[in-house]
Symmetry: D2
């Protein structure tokens, strides 16, 4: 089974002031992440405004990512979920051809009441059967309204090409139930504040917005855990919690892009309907960044 | 204000056995609906597998609809919602150019936690400002996870180009609250079982999957209500409830397409990941159709 | 089958300034309601702070209600739901002995995940078997988190002693589904803004906080509907919507008691943890009451 | 601040075949738990059928618990939450007089829409002000439908007498947010499968149904964590997951009592409306118990 263990940022998509995709800034950001203690990048994820991208934009982005990461030893995990099985397969095979190591597959989510266990299983099995690269299930009910039940996850885990999950719901009990039955399933924390608890029950790592700007402390946390320096790990976990909240539940993608702009990356504008941070939110964010700033350095 | 009062089916999208869009069957279905007591069609809506269509398919469909309906006195209400404001505007202006009378605008729904009152209001106001045709808000939290709050609806109703709502959540209390303050807002029942209650508080009509196969009894119900034959209206409402449930919450789009196939239209297959009805579901559906069959005739 | 059709207020429980039950004010209020066009009272319901009453207080209240209503032709519908089947039976039989015509039975609601179809059916059937008076199911998921599914309601409706439902969730589609299969099931609107829509599909009446202070306009609405003066009915429905919201979802029991105090009844304080209305809320309430005031007179 | 760190079972309430409280069996069970590596007991909690107990039964139970635990060095944490502030204070002071070390305080939960931040804060502050013993907030939204928000918890944590929380929602991210700002707040895992992840971020222990029958492996897990034997801790955590699910989400209180009966305690019947396990559920439970059996021994 392909081992994907490690730390990954789901990276934002850079747009220019007109809202157009800006691949130069993407390249520049990638170069910077490549020099940080990350195991690769996930693109596009929720934090990448994936829902706002056209099919052509996705492909153009993957090409840049694959080019920059080639030879770096870093992995590209491609976000390939779409509403139809056919389009999901199309994206997954395209990403694989372009050099993605694995795919993070968001489920269809519009026809929620029809997305039964059977429909989800048949969908993922069809994608897995057609995919040359391993798949991670992407569970993010806050955005999709679809929450994978334990029996569905256990069924999907039987397929050799479905190797893990990013659980953005941070359902630690369900993940423990999965890992108790499938210790090799590669579980990834979906948010930075859950990394240490996830690691404690055997998770493979994290795919976390926080890793975009806080790769160094997250790596130190990860290493501390692996070296059983639990008190160090706990302190590092506590130290990044406020920044993590600001980047995710409190200020969303607008907040993440703002933080990128403040920390040496290109964040740039979000696409509408999302709105930029208010002056008040920026001030609050600055306060949080100032507090955590010493920690972010390499 | 453009008056849209009446009964509309959100029509299914015909696909062939390979899942390809089949415009000939669309034309044939449209010809049949045109001869029924309907005020037009909505396309694409949730029942049209809108979430499964490419941008090109939407445009091709609108062209056929506009061509067939031209001169018939029937309205085309185009489904134009998308995840970005820019794409929603693009779809809305395109549909208007092709001859749509109005647009039914699904909100963005992926970044739910960011879709605040302010974000929704700015989004719809931007679309309304750019649109040459009036807009209906489309509230369908069962699919989107976004439920328009009363203050948001009242704010949107202030815009002259935002003329009404299809409320698939059948929230009769909220609709009464809207109509008590905005009696001219054109409220449409979003499901066939709610038509009479919605009419009783001043709704303008219904946009209902049920109208695809039951235009005649729904029109009789509508007329009975307008003629204050309340007992007739109630009996007609009761008579279509079981079929309505089968077409919507019980069997979803697969059920609607099955019913189309059984009643003289072309339903055809759904796109994956949706699955066709099981043999058991078909048998149950046949039983319901047989019971209601005499009622469906013109 | 016992016919309960009509309009009922779930009446508040009067407490004195120390939070003690005040039976004199209860008597005074009852005398006033008896002179209004109501078919009886429901006591205790959610609006009666039922969750805050001891078993002894319930019994004392029923005695007063039964005494005052005796010979008036008005019905006492007793709220008898409790967490255990045994206690629910005890309350139901006690209320019957004291003279209640029927019981409104809230389901158990703490062990939500265990309250399966089977558990709810066995519970209600056991209560019905032991009860000398007919039962109404009380569906109020906003408070209980328990929402009766259609199959459960249809199963309960088979029991001759389970004669109807108060549906405070205003689920007009589900009620249509119930009435389509069980036209004799006595469905009551659970909030004043839903009365007309409920009547349109065959409901038996309403059990509504609004009836505490607006018996006259609700009766006029009811009569207008029965006489097929639909436009009058609609206008009356629209006219009471703002007051209804204020009495229920906007300001809760504190709002209802405030409105009582402003309209010639004794409202008095709520029990803690509920808090009295803020000055701002009272001002808003006064504005709403002033607007609707001419309508409230007999 | 009173330190409560450790492992506690929320113990079931023994009833006889007629559903009557059986204090002899309670005593016998307590004697057995006293000999196990537990730091005390919680009584009554959700697992104790607290919602089914009369006020008199609660007091009788506390007396027995206090008597048996006296001098054992084990703590009695009393469940004292009720719907009114007055009753919650009454239960809390009564429990303190009878010898409880602390109180686990369920919030009021019927009038959910009225239970704002302000109402919850005033309620808990009033209880804390009146209480001679420290309080733990009890967050169990699966049963109450009330989920404490971060700002509410942070506000409550400012009171010296409110010393911690049992979080049965296992919201690891929220607990990290609390602990990042209030490292001394005593957070307890509310279910056995979350113990290790909770400990990893600085939790004080667990209050877990699982501890009723699995005190030994839970203590070994706890000790392994404290001695930084993380791989041992993880294996123990994984080993108890299936039993934990069976005792809680899968089979509820009926399951817990069944497991008690199979492991040397008195479980006995649940009160109605809860139903005993079906034959099929018992067989499934036996299978799970057989698998985990070697682990349960001291």
């Amino acid at each position: 089974m392909q081992q994907l263990a490690g730390l990954y940022p789901p990276i934002p998509t850079p747009f220019d002031e007109q809202g157009k995709l800006d691949l130069h800034w993407l390249e520049a950001n990638l170069a910077r992440w490549s020099a940080q203690p990350l195991d690769g990048v996930v693109m596009p994820g929720s934090n990448s405004e994936a829902a706002f991208l056209t099919a052509e934009e996705r492909v153009a982005i993957w090409q840049v990512c694959a080019d920059v990461l080639k030879g770096s030893g870093k992995r590209l995990i491609a976000g390939t979920g779409a509403e139809t099985t056919a389009e999901t397969i199309h994206f997954t095979t395209t990403a694989a051809e372009l050099g993605a190591t694995a795919a993070l597959v968001l489920p269809p989510y519009f026809y929620k009441p029809s997305l039964t266990h059977e429909v989800l299983v048949e969908h993922y099995q069809a994608v897995a059967a057609a995919s040359p690269i391993p798949l991670l299930v992407y569970n993010v009910p806050a955005f999709t309204g679809v929450d994978f039940a334990l029996p569905t996850l256990l069924k999907l885990a039987e397929h050799t090409q479905i190797v893990g999950i990013k659980d953005s719901s941070s359902n630690i009990v369900k993940m423990a139930e999965v890992l108790a039955q499938r210790p090799d399933f590669q579980v990834f924390a979906g948010t930075g504040s859950a990394l240490l608890p996830f690691l404690s029950i055997g998770a493979a790592g994290g795919i976390m917005a926080l890793a975009n700007v806080a790769a160094f402390p997250l790596r130190r946390l990860y290493d501390a855990f692996r070296e059983r320096r639990m008190e160090d790990a706990r302190k590092l976990q506590m130290a990044v919690v406020a920044l993590n909240s600001a980047l995710t539940t409190r200020f969303g993608v607008s907040g993440l892009k703002y933080a990128m702009d403040q920390t040496g990356f290109y964040g740039g504008p979000v696409r509408r309907p999302l709105l930029p941070l208010s002056a008040q939110a920026r001030a609050e964010f600055d306060r949080i960044l100032a507090e955590v700033h010493p920690l972010l350095a390499g």
